[in-house]
C-alpha cells in the first residue's frame, strides 16, 4: 500500500485541500474540526456520495450456476458433457430474463452434510435492481484475477473500483475505503495519483475491529480523556518535533504519514465508533459493561440480520459493512468469505466449504450451490438494512448504493457423462452480477450459448441490452460500466462509454 506522501501534501485537488485544511486545524489532540469535516460528508465535497459494497465471491463464482444457468433440454446432444442442470432445478423468474438454481443435495462433496440452496427467492425479490453482464477475463490465477476484477486489468491507471469511489466521494469521510477481504481483493491499486485517503483500510477480525477506533475507551483504570489529550498534545507538539530523531528523519514519508494519521484519532474518537460499530451485546465472553463499553444502538437490528456474526466472519463483515455506511464512516466496503471451512455441527450445516467457490475443484455443483446461496443471503440482508435507513429527504442509503459481486473467473463448462458430482477447473469466460438502483436493472447483458456454456457479449451502447454472439466483453469495459454507473468522473481516462450498464443511460 505504498504511496508517495507527496500525493497527500504536494498535489492537492480542491477536495484534498479541504480535507488537509481540516486535518491541519485538528492539530495535536483537537479532533473537532476533522470530526466536523467528517460529519459534513458530501456537503464538503458538494457531491452526494454513492456507496459501493464489493462482495468478493472468492474462488470463482460461475455465472452459469446461477443467473445464466442452462437446462438439459436446451443443451441438446451436448447436455451429457456440459455443466447444465436437470430442467426442474433451473427456475424461471416471472417478468425477468434471469434464471435461478434451487438445489437440494445430500452432501457437499465429500462432506457428509446435506444442503439446500435457493436463488429464486433472491432473484424474485431483487430482480429490478439486478443486472448481469458477461465478461471474458485474462487470468486464471486467483490472486491476479481477483485484482483484475477490481481494476479492470488496470483499465484506469490501475486504480481499483473502491479507490475510485473513495477518491470521488470519500474526502469528507473518516475512513472512506474499508477492506475486509484478502489476497487480490485487498491488493492496492497502482495508480500513483490516487489520494492517500482513498487507499483501503484493512480489517482483520471484523467483529472486534471497532476496538481499534478509540485509543483508550474500554481499557480499565486509565486517566481521563482530557488528561490523555494533554499527553498526546505534549508528545505531538513538543517531544516529537524537538527530538533529534525527528529532525534527522525530517524528510521521512512514513513519519509525515504517521503524523497525519494520528491527528485523525481525536475526530474518530468523538464519533464514538467503538460503540456505534460494536456488533456484540454484553455477554460473558464479551463483558462490555465491565470495561465501560456498550453495544451499537443498531446492534439488535444487525444481529437479527446476521445472527451468526460471532462464529461466521463473513456475517460479521456484512454487519460491519452496513454500520460503516450507515454511520457515514465509509463510502466503500469490501467483504469476502474466506477459504477456510466453516461447519455448524449443531445445525448440521456447511456454512463455508473449504476454498469457498474454489471447492468446485472437488465438487463443482455443491460448492457453487452452497456459496451462491451464501452470497445472496448476505446481499439480501444488506439491501434490506440499507433500504430501511434514510440517507436524506426520504432517500434511502440503498438508493445510492451498489453491490458488486466480484469474482476471479468462471469454471470450466464440461462435465463427465451426465455426472452430478464433478470437479471443474478455472475458465476466463464468465460474467458478473451487480445489484443497485443505479444499474440497468432486470437485464442480462450478453448471453450464453446453451450448447457450450460459453458466454458472449453485448452492445455497450444499447441500454435495451442487445446481445452480440461472437463478442466478448473485456475487463476494461466492465470496469468502466461499474465506475460510470457510480458516477465517477473518469475524464481523460480513455474508458469506453458503457451506456448499457447504467440505469439512466
Amino acid at each position: 500500500m505504498s504511496r508517495d506522501h507527496k500525493n497527500i501534501l504536494g498535489r492537492l485537488d480542491r477536495r484534498q485541500m479541504l480535507k488537509a485544511a481540516g486535518l491541519m486545524a485538528a492539530g495535536g489532540g483537537a479532533g473537532l474540526p476533522s470530526l466536523l469535516a467528517s460529519r459534513r460528508g458530501y456537503a464538503q465535497t458538494e457531491e452526494k456520495p454513492r456507496f459501493l459494497i464489493v462482495l468478493a465471491a472468492a474462488g470463482g463464482a460461475s455465472i452459469i450456476d446461477s443467473f445464466l444457468a442452462i437446462r438439459q433440454s436446451e443443451a441438446g446432444a451436448a447436455a451429457a458433457g456440459l455443466n447444465c442442470f436437470v430442467d426442474s432445478e433451473v427456475k424461471s423468474i416471472a417478468d425477468s430474463p434471469f434464471r435461478a438454481v434451487d438445489l437440494r443435495r445430500r452432501q457437499v462433496g465429500a462432506i457428509p452434510i446435506p444442503f439446500s440452496s435457493n436463488q429464486s427467492d433472491f432473484v424474485t425479490k431483487h430482480k429490478n435492481d439486478l443486472m448481469v453482464v458477461t465478461q471474458t477475463g485474462t487470468s486464471v490465477n486467483h490472486t491476479i484475477a481477483q485484482k483484475r476484477s477490481l481494476t479492470g486489468n488496470e483499465a484506469w491507471h490501475g486504480r481499483t473500483v473502491q479507490e475510485a469511489v473513495a477518491a470521488q466521494y470519500g474526502a469528507g469521510y473518516p475512513i472512506p475505503n474499508v477492506n475486509m477481504s484478502a489476497n487480490g481483493y485487498i491488493s492496492p491499486g497502482i495508480d500513483p495519483t490516487t489520494p492517500a485517503f482513498a487507499m483501503a483500510e484493512p480489517v482483520g477480525s471484523a467483529a472486534l475491529w471497532p476496538l481499534s477506533l478509540d485509543g483508550a475507551k474500554g481499557i480499565k483504570n486509565l486517566p481521563s480523556r482530557e488528561r490523555i489529550a494533554l499527553a498526546r498534545r505534549m508528545r505531538n507538539e513538543k517531544l516529537d518535533p524537538e527530538s533529534n530523531f525527528k529532525k534527522t528523519f525530517a524528510d521521512s514519508r512514513r513519519l509525515a504519514l504517521w503524523d497525519e494519521q494520528r491527528n485523525r484519532t481525536g475526530g474518530l474518537e468523538m464519533m464514538d465508533l467503538i460503540t456505534n460499530l460494536n456488533l456484540y451485546p454484553d455477554i460473558p465472553q464479551i463483558p462490555l459493561g465491565e470495561y465501560g463499553l456498550s453495544e451499537s444502538p443498531d446492534g439488535q437490528r444487525v444481529r437479527e440480520a446476521f445472527p451468526d456474526f460471532a462464529s461466521d466472519p463473513f456475517e460479521a463483515q456484512a454487519a460491519l459493512a452496513f454500520l460503516l455506511i450507515k454511520y457515514r464512516v465509509s463510502v466503500t466496503v469490501t467483504i469476502a468469505p474466506s477459504f477456510n471451512v466453516l461447519l455448524d455441527l449443531q445445525r448440521l450445516r456447511v456454512d463455508n466449504p473449504p476454498l469457498a467457490f474454489d471447492f468446485s475443484h472437488q465438487s463443482h455443483r455443491d460448492a457453487q450451490g452452497v456459496m451462491w446461496d451464501r452470497m445472496l443471503r448476505v446481499a439480501d440482508k444488506l439491501v434490506d438494512l440499507l433500504k430501511a435507513e434514510e440517507f436524506e429527504a426520504g432517500e434511502s442509503f440503498w438508493d445510492r448504493s451498489m453491490i458488486y459481486f466480484a469474482t476471479e473467473f468462471g469454471r470450466s463448462k464440461r462435465r463427465p457423462n451426465n455426472a452430478e458430482s464433478f470437479g471443474t477447473a478455472h475458465d476466463i469466460n464468465n460474467g458478473f452480477a451487480m445489484l443497485s438502483p443505479m444499474v440497468n436493472g432486470n437485464k442480462v447483458l450478453g448471453g450464453v450459448d446453451p450448447t457450450t456454456g460459453m458466454t458472449y457479449g453485448f452492445d455497450p451502447e444499447a441500454p435495451q441490452g442487445v446481445p452480440i454472439t461472437g463478442r466478448n466483453m473485456t475487463e476494461k469495459e466492465i470496469y468502466s460500466g461499474i465506475v460510470h454507473a457510480l458516477g465517477i468522473d473518469t475524464s481523460g481516462g480513455n474508458l469506453p462509454d458503457m451506456r448499457a450498464m447504467r440505469k439512466n443511460a
Binding site: 482483520g204 486509565l222 517531544l239
Partner: protein
C-alpha cells in the same frame, strides 16, 4: 556561480563533520552522555538541508538523513519491545476485554502484522493505516497502566517509577525521584538519556495534569509519561 560552489563545499565539510561526529553518537544521532548541552559550535544551521542544529537549545549539530528511510515496528516487534522496556510478560501487556490479545489477535492487522491462516492476509500493509496509531496507543496505554500500577504499589522495588513520594495522590515533581524515573524510562525505552528539554516537558505535563484538580495526578502522570515516550516517533520507528 562561485558562491554556489562555496556553499556546496561548506555543506560537504559540514556533512563530513557530521559523519565524524556521529562516531560519538548512538544510532539515533543523539549523544550518549545524557542530558544534551548546547549545540556544538562552528556549524551553522543547515545550508542545504544536510546539516542542522537547533540554535543551541537541545543538541549538537547532526546530519539530516538524505534517504530518511524508516519503518514502523509492527505488531511483533512492538509487543516484544514494550514487554522488555516495561518488564511485563508479552501475554500480559494488553488484552482486550481482559481476554483477547491486542497484538496477536485483535489489532494484528492494524499494527501491520499478517494473519495468513484464518484471515488469509499474508502480506502486511506497506505503510501504517488510520487505525495503526490508535491501536498502538491502546497497547501502550494498557501496558503503561500496568507498569505504573505495579511500581506505585511497591515503590522500593519499582522498575521505572521508583521511590516516588506520593502524598494525597500528588507528586513533588521537582524531586530527584521524578527525574530519575524519567531518566530510567528513556534509557529503557530509547536507549538514551532524556534531554533537559524532554525532562522539562514531562514535568510540565505533571503540572498540567494536577491543575485540573482531578484525583490521582501522580498515578496518571506516571501512566501518561510512559505513554508519551513509548508512543513517540523515536520509539515506534526504526
Amino acid at each position: 556561480m562561485f558562491p554556489k560552489r562555496l556553499i556546496t563545499v561548506l555543506a560537504a565539510g559540514a556533512l563530513l563533520s557530521g559523519c565524524l561526529a556521529s562516531e560519538n553518537l548512538n544510532p539515533t544521532g543523539t549523544p550518549d552522555s545524557g542530558v544534551s548541552g548546547d549545540g556544538d559550535s562552528g556549524v551553522a544551521n543547515g545550508d542545504g538541508g544536510t546539516v542542522e542544529n537547533d540554535g543551541g537549545t537541545t543538541g549538537p549539530a547532526f546530519a539530516k538523513s538524505s534517504k530518511a528511510v524508516l519503518r514502523f515496528k509492527r505488531t511483533t516487534r512492538l509487543r516484544n519491545d514494550i514487554s522488555q522496556v516495561l518488564g511485563i510478560p508479552e501475554g500480559e501487556i494488553c488484552n482486550e476485554l481482559g481476554q483477547y490479545s491486542c497484538t496477536d489477535y485483535v489489532h494484528t492487522i492494524s499494527l501491520g502484522g499478517v494473519e495468513a491462516y484464518t484471515l488469509g492476509i499474508n502480506e502486511p500493509t506497506a505503510d501504517t493505516t488510520v487505525t495503526t496509531p490508535i491501536a498502538t496507543e491502546r497497547v501502550v496505554l494498557s501496558a503503561c497502566e500496568r507498569r505504573a500500577r505495579d511500581d506505585m504499589a511497591a515503590p522500593d522495588g519499582a522498575l521505572i517509577f521508583k521511590g516516588l513520594v506520593v502524598t494525597d495522590g500528588k507528586l513533588d515533581v521537582g524531586s530527584a525521584e521524578v527525574a530519575q524515573s524519567i531518566d530510567t524510562l528513556y534509557k529503557r525505552a530509547l536507549l538514551r538519556a532524556p534531554s533537559s528539554a524532554e525532562v522539562s516537558h514531562l514535568t510540565q505535563l505533571y503540572r498540567d495534569i494536577e491543575a485540573d484538580q482531578q484525583p490521582n495526578p501522580a498515578r496518571d502522570w506516571a501512566i501518561l509519561t510512559c505513554f508519551s515516550v513509548l508512543t513517540s516517533m523515536e520509539s515506534l520507528f526504526y
